[in-house]
């Protein structure tokens, strides 16, 4: 059997290594721009997803606030009116109830005051908005009955999100 010259053997090894090195280097160089573009797009995607995540967290915070409430049901409007001595001037009418994420519902109620001092309505609104869960004004119409504008007819549409009763 013919013996291989060591120099030829080493030369072949060197050539093989250089060829592999060149292939690797060229492959790395050729692919680099595409990979860099991919990474830039990826970073952009991450930023957009992170922004969405922040938005979602903020939204979830509101739900968490409701979940943390000690009292899950909003204060009764009738009893509040009674406590403020306004039950005679006010009519409370339930408009609609929408189901939200279980067990929550959104209730919409209309309260109409006839010939009432506006200050009293202000107190009423302050009371129901500062309770937990709060009532929120959806719509309000003040119609002054006198020239001074201190009292008259008030129509309120109120909403609250509380647990199913």
């Amino acid at each position: 059997m013919k013996r291989i010259n060591p120099v030829t053997l080493w030369l072949s090894v060197a050539l093989l290594i250089w060829f592999s090195a060149l292939v690797l280097a060229v492959a790395a160089l050729v692919q680099t721009p595409a990979r860099i573009r991919f990474m830039e797009r990826g970073r952009d995607t991450i930023m957009r997803l992170k922004a969405m995540q922040t938005q979602k967290q903020e939204m979830e915070e509101n739900l968490k606030l409701h979940l943390k409430l000690k009292e899950k049901n909003a204060v009764s409007l009738q009893s509040t009116l009674q406590s403020l001595g306004l039950s005679q001037q006010a009519t409370v009418r339930r408009k609609k109830t929408e189901n939200l994420i279980d067990p929550w519902v959104r209730r919409t109620v209309e309260v109409i005051f006839t010939d009432v001092p506006f200050d009293s309505v202000g107190k009423f609104l302050y009371t129901i908005e500062t309770q937990q869960p709060p009532w929120r004004i959806q719509e309000v119409i003040f119609d002054a009955a006198d020239q001074n504008g201190t009292g008259g007819r008030v129509s309120l549409v109120l909403q609250t999100v509380d647990a199913k009763q």
């Binding site: 120099v7 080493w10 030369l11 090894v13 060197a14 290594i17 250089w18 592999s20 090195a21 690797l24 280097a25 492959a27 790395a28 692919q31 680099t32 990979r35 991919f38 990474m39 990826g42 970073r43 995607t45 991450i46 957009r48 997803l49 969405m52 995540q53 938005q55 979602k56 939204m59 979830e60 509101n62 739900l63 606030l65 409701h66 929408e98 939200l100 994420i101 929550w104 959104r106 506006f118 202000g122 609104l125 302050y126 908005e129 869960p133 709060p134 929120r136 004004i137 959806q138 719509e139 309000v140 119409i141 003040f142 119609d143 002054a144 020239q147 001074n148 504008g149 609250t160 999100v161």
Partner: protein
Amino acid sequence: MTMQATIGYGISRDEDRLTIVRAAKGRSGISYDQQWNGPVRQESAEWKNLIGRIYAEVWDGQAVTAVPVPVDKSIFRPLTTPFTSKKKAHRVLPSLLDIQLPFPLEEALTSFIDVSGNKTGPVSSLAVCMRREEYGTFLSDWQELGLDPVAVDHEGLAWWTWYLKKMPPTSSESRVIVAFGQNRSVVMIGTDKNLLGCYRWNKGVQQFSQQEDAWRDAVNRLQRICLAHKKACDDHPLHIIQTGSAIEASVCEAFECVWNAEDVKPAFSCDANGQTALASALAERALVSDMLPCNLRSVDVPHPAELQASGRNIKKSLVFTIILGLLLSAAAAGFYGVLYFRENRIKKHVTELATALTSMKSVPRGQEVLLAERSLESRREELRPFSKAVNDSVTGLLNDLLETAQTHEIKINRLVVRPDGILIRGTSPGWNDCDVLLPLLQKAGYRPAAPERQDAGMDERVHFQLQGALP
């Protein structure tokens, strides 16, 4: 010379006297050290030690031994080709030399030394040639002494380049170097830096001291040599350098004395320490490549140590190449790996975020943002009532409006707040008083229209109406 030697051993011989000089290349230049100067005593331990030490260095690739081919056993010819291209010139040089040889070129070992440098114009070369038969005898003579030379240099070139370096010509001159030996002398002639010819006399210092007319013959011979190079000698002042293995101050004096009787009076230089000059020149020439290098041994079969060094150099180069290749591979693979790792990290992060946002087990690649947006939109719809229930309140606006109205004596007759807009109708004492309410509407996010006003009537108040819509 393929050997990357740092030590050169120059070996010269005059009759039975051998001179060995060791030249070592260092940071501060080349240093010379005489190793032997006297008759060869092959059986002596001192000689054996020296040869053993020299050849240990030679086989180790550190040293090169160089011996001179005598002028009388070789042919030296300066050649000028008609070509300016070196490639073309090198093709015709053998033919130009062949016609000047008394024997076929194929029977000789030939070395062509390029002397054109970077000059433009016809290519010039110095040819050194020796018959193979004579070369064989010459080499075996040295080998019998236990000295197998790695380099076989030319005596004339060695003398010439040595004195070019040691006594560089200060101005244009014709230079003659006379190297006196015991029984033979050699003469090198040239102009400036160009060696034109090498000659040998059969007389040395012994003959000159014994024969009365020997000096006169020497001068005559030298004059004939000058005549042979008439143009060079006539155009430039003559400078004669006296040296050689048998040089002494008295030899120089005697030679100059005979010359002084002649019409032509050249400048003389006497190198009274020139006994080891040839060996030193050979040693240095073995180490450097800018002194008209010549090695007839490499033309024939190179010294085994040189072959071994050549093999060693090839191996070193291969190992270096392999290491470089491996480094390049590692660098490329590393770079590739870093890219791959970063890309994967980004992919993983995108998938994690998208999965968290969509609550899906796996999100199809490329659809992450779209699916996340859809999921977020759907969740937003579900959670919007909770957000509104906590954040949206018009009570603050109502309070601000009523307080401001009271402060500015504005009377509000009708106030309507709906999810899509606001309407305020009332009266104010002045024409512009109702304008104070506009910033409050803007602050609450409404886009107020221009106030509608009516001139004061019976009540002496301005009636106005403000409207604002949510964008």
